[in-house]
């Protein structure tokens, strides 16, 4: 089924906006997505009618809020194919989810010198820096997969990189800068063979195509609400329940406990153990509504639409003289996130001139500076698409790039 873009776009209030006198052309969804009215209304209704704190009250408002919050957890668990809702831990974003695992790993993996953690050169800083710091704290060693000239994960050294000393491998599912989609199958097989855990940073995959944790066979995934039509302030860690059960609390406090005395505390089972304090209740409910919206359109349909848009964009960009694309040049094994260079023009200037025309793209190192270093540039310009992106918008981008070339001719 193809998406009815007119109908879809009518659900997103912001898409009627003008920027500098031009209709908004929002090509920065990999940074943060826009939100449909269904999500905004679900949050508004909760806040106007049902607001109460969760898991703490017997009163009606508290009971309603708890039911809505736990209902959102169930929807999200089903969306990613979790074995049970209790495997979904709400966090404020992907970054917290990854840090939760990284900060508790020294304990539950008994990390020390000689142990190894493996990431890749393609990681977002949020899936790199927490592991660097973990290694600093414990004396473990950080190793990484390289990136090929085509922008693919270089798995040629897999068996050497992931070995008996490896305790955990954490790699990105879809790169936020190159658009590359990694198939983790070989890494998972090798990691589990040597007894290592695998975490997958699904911040860019869960929003864009069907992700099923059981099929992937990984041990943890992280994703974030604001990139999948949900609000800011909400994300999730999914982990296999037996693993979550072995992990100590992280952000400890109210709600994470079983019983407390001044002398010591015992902790609740997951997910409560990891949800210290008042959680982002309204935001979880908003994310639940976002999942409803995505399900209604169908993740397969969304993916197909984005594949088409990506093919169109790759071609349109290749047709602009002086534009070089980083990462895979065809839609196979990549998503709708395309970074490029414009000959002789700094990305900052590219972005500025495009913005003047209402075309919103991101410029900079995209929180993936090692990728920029790998390709020998200080920064890149990135256009990223979502279920509401049209070919007209790609045309506007291409026209904008002609203008960029004119200003800097």
């Amino acid at each position: 089924m193809t998406l009815d873009l007119v109908q879809v776009r009518a659900d997103f209030p912001i898409l009627t906006r003008e920027i500098n006198g031009h209709p908004l052309v929002y090509l920065d969804s990999a940074n943060t997505s826009q939100k449909p009215r269904q999500v905004l209304e679900a949050m508004q209704d909760h806040q106007e009618r049902h607001n109460g704190n969760v898991s703490r009250s017997v009163h009606t408002l508290g009971t309603e809020a708890t039911a809505a919050y736990e209902g959102a957890r169930e929807k999200i668990a089903a969306f990613i194919g979790a074995a049970r809702p209790e495997e979904v831990v709400f966090t404020k974003n992907s970054t917290e989810a990854i840090n939760l695992v990284a900060w508790t790993a020294s304990d539950f993996l008994s990390l020390g010198p000689g142990d190894e953690i493996v990431v890749s050169e393609m990681e977002h800083h949020s899936n790199l820096v927490p592991w660097q710091l973990l290694c600093q704290r414990t004396g473990a060693t950080l190793r990484w997969f390289g990136v090929t000239d085509e922008g693919r994960l270089d798995e040629s050294q897999l068996d050497e990189l992931v070995n008996e000393r490896t305790k955990l491998v954490s790699v990105v599912h879809m790169s936020n800068i190159l658009g590359t989609i990694n198939d983790p199958a070989r890494i998972v097989a090798r990691a589990h063979e040597v007894g290592a855990l695998v975490m997958l940073d699904c911040s860019q995959s869960v929003p864009h195509f069907p992700v099923n944790v059981a099929d992937l066979g990984v041990d943890f995934i992280a994703f974030t609400g604001h990139k999948m039509l949900g609000p800011t302030g909400i994300g999730a860690l999914w982990g296999r329940y037996e693993l979550l059960e072995r992990m100590p609390p992280f952000l400890a406090g109210g709600s994470t406990i079983e019983t407390v005395t001044m002398a010591g505390t015992t902790f609740a089972p997951p997910p409560a153990r990891f949800e210290g304090g008042t959680p982002p209740i309204t935001e979880a409910i908003g994310l639940g509504a976002a999942v409803d919206y995505l399900n209604k359109l169908g993740m397969e349909n969304i993916h197909r639409h984005e594949q088409e848009i990506t093919a169109y964009a790759l071609k349109a960009l290749a047709d602009v003289p002086g534009v070089t694309i980083f990462g895979p040049g065809t839609p196979e094994g990549r998503g709708g996130t395309v970074s490029f260079a414009v000959d002789g023009v700094h990305p900052h200037d590219v972005g500025q001139i495009l913005d003047d025309l209402g075309v919103e793209v991101r410029v900079g190192h995209h929180c993936a500076r090692p990728v920029c270093t790998r390709f020998g540039v200080p920064a890149m310009t990135r256009a990223s698409f979502y279920l509401y992106t049209t070919t007209d918008e790609i045309d506007a981008l291409a026209r904008g790039l002609e203008q960029v070339r004119k200003v800097f001719a």
Binding site: N20, V345, H346, P347, H348, D349, Q352, I353, D356, V363, G364, H365, R369, C372, P378, A379, V407, F408
Partner: protein, 148 residues
Amino acid sequence: MIDQLYQDIILDHYKHPHGRGLRDPFQGEAHHVNPTCGDEITLRVTEDLSEISYDGMGCSISQASASVLHELLKGRTPGEAFEIHEAFLALMQGRGQVEPDEDVLGDGIAFAGVAKYPARVKCALLPWMAFKDAAARAGISVNPEVKA
């Protein structure tokens, strides 16, 4: 509005930068980075400001700003350099409300349009902040606070 940002003077300095390249000897050096966009500059000064040299990568605004800085500050007394530095800062932080004085700022007046783009002010200031540090390391103070 974008034309106010990308004035010909700026594009000109960008395409034909003055004084680019790192040179010896020098008494003070500073390396500054803009973490959002990855722009970088290394800037060197002699203690009498008879030489200012720099290298780096960045957008048209930061590159042109470095070129203009070179043109404006090289060979000045610390007092003069300080006055110009302060005027440039005031212009950049003025949100487009400050009228620049061409006698003081020369080609720097072309940056008046940048002040209306909050995200780009940092670009324009990058070389000037590096200059301040490099000068301090060379024993010259161009800190506005010192004047009072």
